[in-house]
């Protein structure tokens, strides 16, 4: 019962979706203010999702069953990550050995759900988006995992979220060390790509390929993809806080840290144009991976 509650309501699906939708509003509002516009009201993203629930669901001719199934898998795994992270922050006893690896695996599934769903929609523009999304996943996973490895090395090989938090509570946040700050910068760029936000939104480019991977989705499945995005917008910054910035985990401190990371994401979004997919690939496998490797080497030497 308790497990179901923590998965479905707090800190799992319902809480993380609401927090993510609200964070999405902050993003839209700040973007609008930066462009000298007024911006949407606070309930805008909730309204969008409720509206999508009332629209017709169109299944294109020639699509497979995975078209309607895959959005659910993305949302299920994203909210599972939210539940694991929230519980390890709230009650450290709930955390289990190896949950860092579980979280890393589950964070890939939303991207895979997008790939499977869009490629089963039999749309040529969607397949262009799929190929870009696949390249993007391959590009950002390598530096992201290297950044996580550097944290694990700093904690003496612990692959448990609560031990990582304990280690930071005793020795101070990883962000304050050289390897920690390098790994943090790397993973900031990686979560930008994971969230599919500008400059790494080539797979959903509205202006070129008409929302790419989401082109055939309407109604409920589209709402679920929006919710998945929202849950990830809550989950990924919280994951970074747990890994790098976990000394003080009282509620006001967490809120402040979350808003700081959100502000960095919005800042990157509003100051950069969209990168072509080959530029993004070169960027992630070149400089970003080198920085992540440097972070791992420094972590081995304990700096």
């Amino acid at each position: 019962m308790m497990l179901l509650f923590s998965y479905l309501i707090f800190p799992g699906f319902l809480f993380s979706a609401c927090a993510g939708l609200f964070a999405g509003w902050i993003d839209r509002k700040i973007t609008a203010r930066l462009q000298w516009r007024v911006g949407p009201p606070w309930h805008q993203n909730f309204t969008d999702v409720i509206k999508l629930l009332g629209k017709e669901i169109i299944v294109p001719e020639g699509s497979k069953g995975a078209f309607l199934l895959s959005p659910y898998f993305g949302l299920l795994s994203a909210s599972l990550v939210a539940a694991i992270l929230g519980n390890s922050l709230r009650l450290s006893m709930e955390s289990f050995n190896g949950d860092v690896i579980v979280v890393l695996y589950l964070l890939v599934i939303p991207a895979i759900a997008v790939i499977v769903g869009a490629s089963s929609s039999a749309n040529p523009l969607a397949s262009v988006g799929v190929s870009r999304e696949m390249k993007m996943v391959m590009a950002y996973e390598l530096p992201f995992i290297l950044a996580v490895i550097s944290v694990v090395i700093k904690c003496g090989g612990n692959i448990r979220l609560s031990s990582i938090l304990n280690h930071q509570a005793i020795f101070g946040s990883h962000l304050l060390s050289f390897s920690g700050i390098l790994a943090f910068i790397t993973s900031m760029l990686c979560i930008q790509a994971k969230l599919g936000i500008v400059p790494f939104d080539a797979s959903e480019a509205d202006q070129e390929i008409m929302s790419g991977v989401l082109i055939e989705y309407s109604g409920l499945p589209l709402a679920i993809f929006k919710l998945t995005k929202a849950v990830l917008l809550y989950t990924l910054p919280v994951f970074l806080i747990v890994l790098f910035w976990g000394k003080d985990i009282t509620v006001p401190a967490l809120l402040g840290k979350y808003l700081t990371i959100l502000a960095i994401i919005i800042l990157i979004k509003n100051t950069n144009p969209r990168l072509r997919i080959d530029q993004a690939l070169r960027f992630f496998w070149g400089p970003v991976t080198l920085v992540a490797l440097l972070a791992v080497i420094l972590a081995i030497f304990g700096i």
Binding site: R28, A32, Q35, W36, R37, V38, G39, P40, P41, H43, Q44, T47, D48, I50, K51, L53, G54, K55, E56, I57, I58, D206, Q207, I209, M210, S211, L214, I215, E216, Y217, S218, G219, L222
Partner: protein, 141 residues
């Protein structure tokens, strides 16, 4: 009136079709999204795919080439979906009434919910048209 319909009036996603228009209406439509008018205040967004659309905004007189395509686009849109004729060409064919290439007015082909006259209509006119559209949805629901 259901909560979903009420949400529809607060978050209208527009799919913008240029249907052989002279581009003036398109420019004025895009002006609505600029800082001066900013219709994102009301949750109005331009979308790239017709599957996400709540409103199909059509500019230009329908010609022989665009009629079958326009019908196809309307079938592809998820219902409830509204059709807005933007500009006098889309409303009434205007000066192309006797043209060899223009066969039927738009409202003989698709169920048009809102007419915004003008050549081109000002952004203010488009916004006031959208207000009327929202009132129409509310009175129906």
């Amino acid at each position: 009136m259901g909560i979903k319909l009420k949400a529809l009036t607060r978050s209208i996603w527009v799919f913008h079709v240029s249907n052989g228009s002279c581009n003036n209406c398109d420019i004025e439509t895009l002006d609505c999204f600029t800082p001066r008018f900013d219709v994102e205040r009301f949750g109005i967004q331009l979308v790239g795919s017709v599957r996400h659309a709540d409103v199909i905004l059509i500019a230009g007189a329908m010609n022989r080439k665009s009629v079958p395509r326009m019908k196809q686009i309307y079938v592809q849109a998820p219902k409830p979906c509204l059709v807005v004729a933007c500009g006098i060409c889309a409303c009434s064919q205007h000066m192309f009434k006797d043209s060899y290439n223009v066969v039927e007015p738009l409202d003989k082909i698709l169920p048009v919910d809102l007419y915004i006259p003008g050549c081109p209509p000002k952004p203010e006119a488009i916004i006031s048209g959208i207000v009327k559209l929202v009132a129409k949805i509310r009175s129906k629901g």
